[in-house]
Symmetry: C2
Subunit: 232 residues, 2 copies
Amino acid sequence: MRSEELSLIRELPLFAGVTNTTFDKLVRASYLQFFPPHVRLVNEGDPADFLYVVVEGCLELFAEANGHDTTVALVRPPSSFILAAVLTDSTYLLSARTLEKSRLLLIPAENIRQAMDSDTAFTHAIVHDMAWAYRTIVKSHKNHKLRSTIERLANYLLSEEKIQNGQGRITLPHDKRTLASLLGMTPENLSRAFGTLRQYQVEINGREVHLNSLEDLRALAKPTPLIDDAEM
Amino acid sequence: MRSEELSLIRELPLFAGVTNTTFDKLVRASYLQFFPPHVRLVNEGDPADFLYVVVEGCLELFAEANGHDTTVALVRPPSSFILAAVLTDSTYLLSARTLEKSRLLLIPAENIRQAMDSDTAFTHAIVHDMAWAYRTIVKSHKNHKLRSTIERLANYLLSEEKIQNGQGRITLPHDKRTLASLLGMTPENLSRAFGTLRQYQVEINGREVHLNSLEDLRALAKPTPLIDDAEM
DNA sequence: CCATCATCTTGACATTTGTCAATTCAGCCG
DNA sequence: CGGCTGAATTGACAAATGTCAAGATGATGG
C-alpha cells in the first residue's frame, strides 16, 4: 500500500482518533483493491466476513425478492457499508455491487471486533458511523412512506443541486434505471415524472438537468431537514 | 425507585455487562415514570435531550409530513428508542407517543455520553443496540419496497403467529388504524386486504384472527429471514 | 459511416392503492 | 335499556403506479 493511499485511508471517519497501533493492525490485516464496474461483491444472506470501506468510486446496496430488486442506497467515499452485519456477527441483509470502477478497503470482521475491544476511540468511531447510517435510512424510510414519486424526485433534484452547488444546473450521477430504483419507481415512471416536472421549469437533456425555478420546485417538493439534510 | 423495578432495569440489554458504578450513576440521573395512553412524548425536530427506554407498555414511533403521519415502528420492552439522535447529539427524526399506559426510563443524553467515555462495556452495549435497530429498519425498508400491501399483511400475521406461538390463532396487539399505518396502507385498504385473505383461510373476528392454513398463507407471503426474522 | 446494442421514452392499458361518503358495529356511560 | 361515540367496514369512484410493447435516441465498434 502506498503512503498517499495510506494517508487517505487514515483520514476516514471510521479511523478518527484511533491509535496508530490499532490503525496499523487493521490495515495490515486488510485488502485494498480495485474492482471493475458492475461486479457483485456482497450477497444478502451470506455471513459477514468483511467490513467494506469505499475509498474511491461508487457502490450500490440493493435487495432482492420475488424476482425484483430494489436499490436501498448508493455509497460514495468516504464511507463504510454493512457495518451492522459485522457488529452483530450475522449475515448481510443487503447485496452490493460496484456501479463504476471502485477502490475498496476490505477489513476482516474478526479484526474489527478485536480492535473494538482494545481501542475505545475506535469503538466511538464505530458508534458514530452506525448512528449516522441509522439516521440516513430512517430518512429514506420516511421519504418513501410520506411522499409520492414526483415529490421524491423533486427532492432528489434539490438535494443534488445543493451537493453539486450547480446554480440550478446539475448532472445526474447515475443512469436513470438506478435512479428510478433508488427512488422506488419504474424507469418508465421516472421518465413521466420528469415530464411532469417540465411545468416546474425543469429541463432535462440526457443527464444534464436545468432547474430553472428552484422556488417552483421547492413549492412542490416541500423539503425538510428531517428527511433531506445530509448532515456530514 | 423500588428494588424490583431496579433489577428489571438492570437486566435490560442496554446495561448488559456495565459496571455497577456506571449503572448507578445512570439510574440516579434518570427518571422512571408512568405515562397514560396516547401521550406524545417526543417531537421530531426537537433536540435529543433524553434516551428513552420502554420498561413496560408500548410506544409508537411515527413521522409527519404534508398533514399525514405514518407509523415507523412499535417499541415494546425491553428496548430503547431514539438512541441515534442522542449519540449524534442532534434532533429527533421521529416522534413518539404511548399506545397504552407505559412505564419509561428517561436517561439524560449528557449522562449517556459520559457513561460511554468511562465504561467500555456500556459503549459495547450501545453498539449492539444500534446495530440491532439498524438491521430492524433495513428489514422494514425492504418489506415496503419489495412487497405489496397484501404480502406485507400476510407476513405480519405469520410473524405474530410465531411471536404469540398461537397454533394458528392470534390476537392483534393494536387497533387496526395503527396496524394499517405500520404496514403503510389506509385502514380501508387493510379491511379489504383481510377480505382478500379469506381465500387463504384467514378468519377475522374483531382482533381475533384464525390462520387456518399456514401453508396457504406462507405460499402467498413468501417470508424470508432477511426481512421477517426478529433476531433476538 | 453504418450497424448494433443498450438505454430511454412514449402510448395504451391493467392493477394497485387511496379518497370520500355512508353505514354498521362495538363499547361505554348515564 | 337507550343513546352516544369512535372504530371498522363497505361501496363507488379517482388517482397513482406498474406492465407490456413499440419506437426513439444515443453511444460504440467495426
